[in-house]
Symmetry: C2
Subunit: 388 residues, 2 copies
């Protein structure tokens, strides 16, 4: 997403120094069976934990990340100056209060944040999977996370929460394991990917695949298809911001006083996009871009799939959308809220005024903190965990 | 733009068979002086005419095309089955009624529709200009059109009209030659390119420049940078449609019944975008994409530049915007309307309900026809041309 918050006083109000941990499961012959019918194993999942599990492990909040995120949601890795991607929201006294709850952030399979993905070594060949990695879905990501939750001995999650693709995983958790989720906070997300969302993803994939350095996915050892991946990311960044936030941030400001009458970047917005594209290719795997966008495009919990017939759902929902988010517009959250009402599921809906566009779930800290704290406290009281 | 209207009964209600004509001017040493200070000459401009000029040449409507358009606005070229890009709007009894008016459509310099552009032969080298073509602006396009209007012996245009970049040219005509424009119809356009509009253009340029086949612009004789140009066009098409029109047209429909669990195009929207990209590269020059988007990005008639101080403006305006157009949102047309009010310039503003997005200026024929006919008739009566 557009920007990580740089914290002024590192650690003063945060979770401090943290490290990513890993669990390995689905060892052959007990591989993870995917939605496609294919099997994947062994599977490594990267995760981080902040705060402590209580005795009955009933205070765990599973935080799920967006498209290009990773397990490092809060605190600092030793020697690094940038905190985790939701550090403003996770910590003592923050929205996800680590004095009360144990916050767990799990990476997704298919990515490049330490979990098994297309850049991992395929045990069958000893080389990176590349396109031999099976196509995965949001449900496959969640089924892998279920293994982690079992591994940690957690019977029931106090809450699942996330923005964007993190919200899709939160909803997928409810769809697959409703009895394991007390509370759910899907933010700036949808019940399904719309054709416009699919179209933006497809453009990103095509930009990568058009780059000859992509080599049909077999670029490991040769260097990334950097140009195509940068173009994909630039398109993404436009969709994460809003027309208004771009106007506020860049307007028509030039780097120099006058038009260059050349094709060098001269508008500030051009320089910003190129910079974002260039830094992204240093941290993100092009094949992961392709696999994870495809997982989002397949995602569809509309038409009753969120609450399959016959399931009893006692999960409480806090649904949050942002006014200027045109990538995951508020009407999509409202479709989710309608499903809750039809099934008499308890839910609160908040449409927050913001000019930040889709990035708002990372940037609108104050209002989200207020809503989430209140929602979680009420949920803890309900569960008899007032002093959890 | 997204689709050309295929006419059911060719010629039954249209202007019939037409052909593109050409004028050459700015012969050295009298080159066209560009906004950058550079000079360009000789300059060829392609144009088409439908209907007849009256004796005093006072009934000419100059129609201006959008980004990827050309001079062929109406009727059929011999042997072709697709009419001009605004055929639904130009012809006997249509919005731009060729029984009353002489409709002239001028191509722009910088493009690849027969006028001088980067793919033209540079007389200094005997080879295509490529990046030696000077960077041009919307004002340069209009100054070239002024030469055409002079060449045709037209002292005053009855109307200038166009959508998108065509609307920018219409407004630029008023800014440069207010005394020559009786009526102006800017549609789905803006007084300036916003940072979001610049950003989408920059992504398209970067996609082209990232393609090694672009060869820093020197691809003539080698073949186009087709992959990069196709990606640029795919991004464009998303911006021309609306979230809603994509939902209506594609929803999540698949080509086959089930997910393929592969990266082949399977959602209909994916197939559509790839098809649009593939056909575009056969008709449009990649360097023209770069030059014309840059001209749009430089375009800025805000802050009083539309009506420079001291000019007297008697031009009447009909400003049209569309509800679902998020590429050139209605608020941009409303900024234009504010400028008209501030300067006491006569103007009518219509915000048309439509789900077509930016493409609406090509597709919402009925409502536009009603508005434009009425506006032009009132303008003709005002000018004493009731029987023009």
């Amino acid at each position: 997403m557009t920007k990580m918050r740089e914290k002024k006083n590192a650690d003063a109000d945060g979770v401090g120094i943290v490290q990513t941990e890993f669990v390995v499961f689905a060892q052959p012959p007990d591989e993870l069976v995917l939605e496609s019918g294919k099997r994947l194993g062994p599977v490594t999942l990267a995760y981080e934990m902040y705060g402590r599990m209580n005795a009955d492990r009933s205070n765990v909040i599973l935080v799920l990340h967006a498209f290009s995120g990773n397990a490092h949601a809060a605190g600092y890795h030793a020697g690094e100056k940038t905190p985790g991607w939701w550090d403003a929201m996770i910590g003592p006294g923050k929205a996800f209060d680590t004095d009360r709850y144990c916050v767990l952030c799990s990476n997704v399979i298919g990515g490049c944040g330490g979990s098994t993905g297309p850049s991992s070594i395929n045990p069958a060949t000893g080389k990176p999977y590349a396109l031999d990695f099976p196509v995965i879905t949001i449900a496959d990501m969640v089924n892998a996370q279920k293994e982690l939750i079992d591994h940690l001995g957690i019977k029931k999650l106090f809450c699942v929460a996330g923005g964007s693709m993190g919200g899709m995983q939160a909803l997928q958790w409810v769809a697959l394991y409703p009895e394991m989720v007390r509370n759910a906070i899907p933010i700036a997300t949808s019940l399904k990917h719309s054709p416009q969302q699919i179209a933006f993803d497809e453009v990103g994939r095509q930009a990568i695949m058009a780059d000859p350095d992509w080599r049909r996915g077999n670029y490991y050892g040769h260097g990334q298809p950097e140009r195509g991946l940068a173009v994909a990311r630039m398109v993404g960044h436009i969709t994460y911001m809003s027309d208004k936030s771009m106007e506020q941030k860049f307007s028509r400001k030039l780097k120099d006083d006058n038009y260059s009458f050349s094709f060098a970047p001269e508008f500030e917005v051009e320089g910003y996009l190129r910079h974002r594209g260039d830094t992204f290719v240093k941290r993100f795997d092009a094949n992961s871009y392709i696999y994870i966008t495809k997982a989002m495009d397949y995602y569809d919990l509309s038409g009753g799939r969120l609450f399959p017939a016959g399931t009893t759902v006692s999960t409480r929902f806090l649904v949050i959308a942002f006014e200027s988010d045109w990538l995951y517009p508020a009407y999509q959250s409202e479709e989710l809220v309608s499903e809750l009402k039809i099934r008499h599921v308890e839910g609160t809906y908040c449409r927050i005024e913001s000019t930040y566009g889709h990035d708002a779930f990372l940037l609108e800290v104050e209002e989200q903190t207020h809503l989430i704290k209140h929602f979680l406290t009420a949920g803890a009281e309900r569960a008899g965990q007032g002093n959890a």
